[in-house]
């Protein structure tokens, strides 16, 4: 039976199990939208800016483990996706962007709404495709899903010219196919695994340092089993928040620039560091020359290019985190590290952050209260800035995929659309978004998307009238010259009301308690709680950029 390209695309998406697309229509995708109109199995969430479609697909992917799909028209629609793709690329999140393109005969002629989408997105996608003929369409869509979701996951873009969408052919589903240059390594080298097992046997002060790869490979349960059996404490990156229960006795909290004091101390004093699914990012390592410089370093990662990129590695193991942790677990014996764990416990007691004395509301207090009110049974989403660090510290996650935050790219504006994606993907769960007054304004228009789709997001804006993280740097490194960081906001609660959401302004403890209760009981619309917080509170501890992890500013 002859089918149009646009219909074939929808059929292929259905076969891949796609149930949701985040997108925005336009001239070059009008045929796909027409096919979508006739496909009730796929729900389309209409965002109000294409960047939000990419972030929503990203939030959906992070919290469900499925591939997130976003769609935009040619030209400005596609260029608006760029930040969202870069964000997903940095955090290795599997999303597929489907973009319309001008007709093949117009490509290169500077046609209306033409942009070189594949050229622009080449360095920020795992791979991208420009479909030149309808005959290529089925295979390319199949390849896109495979590449996005396997190996080290990442975003894929498929650019589909208008005439490819309208051309008609017999639909042949490619059952089998092979990509000659794409063969991710899943099984670790057995000698390297044995060497690691031996190193664990000999180590007195071992430490696990795990990243987003543990979440991506679904290795949380085996990580916990392995850590408990070998009695090795675990620190993690922001990306791996929830990889092990954060209140577990072996959990040291997350490490790095604003990481926990004892986790950073442990890095600097361990004699064996086992890094799993992580990339030694500069916000994690500080000065790489001193990072874990007393330790033998094992690096387990599915991406060979990450091994040795930033830090010298003694035992590299390329492969899937879950497979390798499983193999390691089989090859190690039960151990105890009482002395080492006591040393860490001592550090933990050495630095207990004191809450500043203030009559005003403090961000950490608000987060603590929301955490208690939800009993931690929520998906936590953040934007980027001080509130992100506070939320990550105070709102604990005990399971994987309960956390969505822009780690690598640090994208302000990620939060609201990502929370929409998380709620659409997890309709029965409570989704809490912490944002700042800077971040929320970058994507505030998406409130109407949440309203239109009856998404009961619990949005807490920690509003200090500052771009707080930049202000903190200006305070610490620029003699308090607050250049362009003081911001004057609209009345956010009223603004939320104008969007059809519920807006609650909060100035004091009593109002806060009521607002939290109200936000959590609402089931059919978003609630935005505008929390006026202490203006000049800093995030501590704080490792100044480029310094060693043990050179923390504590208060």
């Amino acid at each position: 039976m002859k089918m149009k390209g646009a219909q074939i695309l929808i059929e292929l998406l259905k076969k891949e199990g796609v149930t949701t697309i985040f997108g925005y229509p336009g001239g070059s995708v009008i045929d796909i939208y027409d096919a979508l109109y006739q496909a009730p199995e796929i729900k389309h969430i209409l965002v109000r800016h294409e960047q939000a479609a990419a972030h929503a697909a990203d939030g959906y992917a992070r919290t469900t483990g499925k591939v997130g799909i976003c769609m935009a028209t040619s030209g400005p629609g596609s260029t608006n996706l760029v930040t969202g793709l870069a964000n997903a690329y940095m955090d290795s999140i599997p999303i597929i962007a489907i973009t319309g393109q001008v007709g093949t005969r117009l490509i290169g002629k500077d046609a209306f709404q033409e942009a070189d989408t594949t050229g622009i997105t080449m360095p920020i996608t795992k791979h991208n495709f420009l479909i030149k003929s309808i005959h290529e369409l089925p295979l390319i869509v199949r390849e896109a899903f495979l590449i996005a979701s396997t190996g080290r996951p990442g975003p894929i873009l498929i650019d589909i010219p208008k005439d490819v969408q309208t051309a008609e052919v017999d639909f042949n589903y490619p059952e089998k196919f092979e990509i000659p240059g794409y063969k991710p390594t899943y099984r670790g080298h057995i000698n390297q695994i044995n060497m690691t097992a031996q190193a664990i046997k000999e180590a007195k002060k071992p430490l696990l340092y795990v990243g987003g790869g543990v979440i991506a490979s679904g290795a949380s349960d085996i990580l916990l089993e392995f850590a408990e059996k070998t009695d090795i404490p675990v620190t993690y990156t922001l990306m791996a928040k929830g990889a092990i229960p954060e209140d577990h006795r072996l959990s040291l909290g997350w490490l790095g620039m604003h990481g926990s004091y004892h986790a950073n101390k442990a890095i600097m004093n361990c004699d064996l560091l086992i890094a799993v699914g992580t990339r030694f990012d500069d916000r994690v390592t500080g000065n790489t020359a001193t990072f874990a410089n007393r330790a033998k370093i094992v690096h387990i990662d599915i991406d060979p290019a990450e091994i040795g990129k930033n830090v010298k590695i003694h035992i590299p193991i390329v492969g899937d985190a879950r497979n390798i942790l499983n193999e390691l677990n089989k090859r190690t014996e039960t151990k105890k590290h009482d002395e080492w764990l006591q040393t860490i416990e001592k550090w933990k007691k050495e630095y207990i952050p004191k809450p500043p004395v203030s009559n005003e509301l403090l961000a950490p207090t608000i987060i603590d209260l929301v955490y208690q009110a939800t009993q931690g049974d929520a998906i936590l989403v953040t934007d980027v800035g001080q509130h992100q660090m506070w939320a990550a510290k105070h709102f604990l996650c005990h399971q994987p995929r309960k956390w969505a935050s822009s780690g690598g790219l640090g994208t302000m504006g990620f939060g609201l659309p990502a929370a929409i994606g998380a709620q659409v993907g997890n309709p029965d769960q409570t989704v809490v978004l912490f944002s700042g007054d800077g971040s929320i304004m970058m994507k505030i228009q998406e409130l109407v998307t949440a309203v239109n789709n009856c998404l009961p997001l619990k949005i807490f804006v920690l509003n200090n009238n500052y771009l707080g993280m930049v202000r903190q740097w200006q305070e610490c490194f620029f003699d308090c010259r607050y250049s362009s960081t003081h911001i004057i906001n609209p009345d956010l609660a009223n603004l939320a009301q104008a969007f059809g959401a519920e807006g609650i302004p909060v100035q004091n403890q009593e109002e806060l308690d009521k607002a939290i209760q109200r936000a959590l009981e609402v089931k059919d619309h978003p609630v935005l709680v505008d929390c006026r917080i202490s203006k000049e509170t800093n995030v501590y501890p704080f490792v100044p950029p480029g310094k060693s992890l043990d050179e923390m500013i504590l208060e």
């Binding site: 594949t118 360095p123 000659p180 290019a305």
Partner: protein, 161 residues
């Protein structure tokens, strides 16, 4: 240290742009680049000359492998190989000097491929050094214009990449 890297890629649009963009983004310098298809029309071979220490070369190789359309990457530097470049040199050749120029070209096993009243066009293949040497000798007659291909290379012996 200079390395000659051979990259087998799927013969698809933009694959060269992907390789070039990777080098630009990661800050690796390309000294020369040559590309053409192989005995399999679906596969092209890109030969790159790059400079860098062991760590940089390791990163270059690994990053190249991450490109979906890259099938195989080989570094010839440690092995025995043959490398060649081709150059076309257009040189001033008034009748009184023409014999001398032709003789010099013959020593280099270069060929005269075009003649005009005032000039000769010389085709020469060989290693970079050989082409450098001929270029040097031709300078005194006045080189009107010249072009060089990037280096291409294959390993000696019966094995392939």
């Amino acid at each position: 240290m200079q390395h000659i890297i051979s990259v087998l890629v799927e013969n698809k649009p933009r694959v060269l742009a992907r390789v070039a963009s990777l080098f630009a983004r990661r800050g690796y310098n390309i000294e020369s680049l040559a590309v053409g298809h192989t005995q399999d029309p679906d596969v092209s071979r890109i030969t790159l000359v790059v400079r860098g220490d062991e760590d940089i070369l390791e990163q270059i190789t690994k990053q190249l492998y991450k490109l979906i359309e890259v099938i195989k990457v080989g570094d010839f530097t440690e092995s025995s190989y043959v490398d060649r470049e081709l150059s076309l040199i257009k040189v001033n050749a008034p009748s009184n000097l023409r014999g001398e120029i032709v003789q010099t070209a013959e020593i280099f096993r270069a060929r005269i491929v075009d003649v005009s009243e005032k000039s000769l066009l010389i085709e020469v293949t060989g290693t970079s050094d050989k082409i450098d040497a001929l270029e040097q000798l031709m300078k005194k007659y006045g080189i009107i214009e010249m072009t060089r291909t990037g280096k291409i290379a294959l390993a000696r012996g019966s094995q392939s990449l």
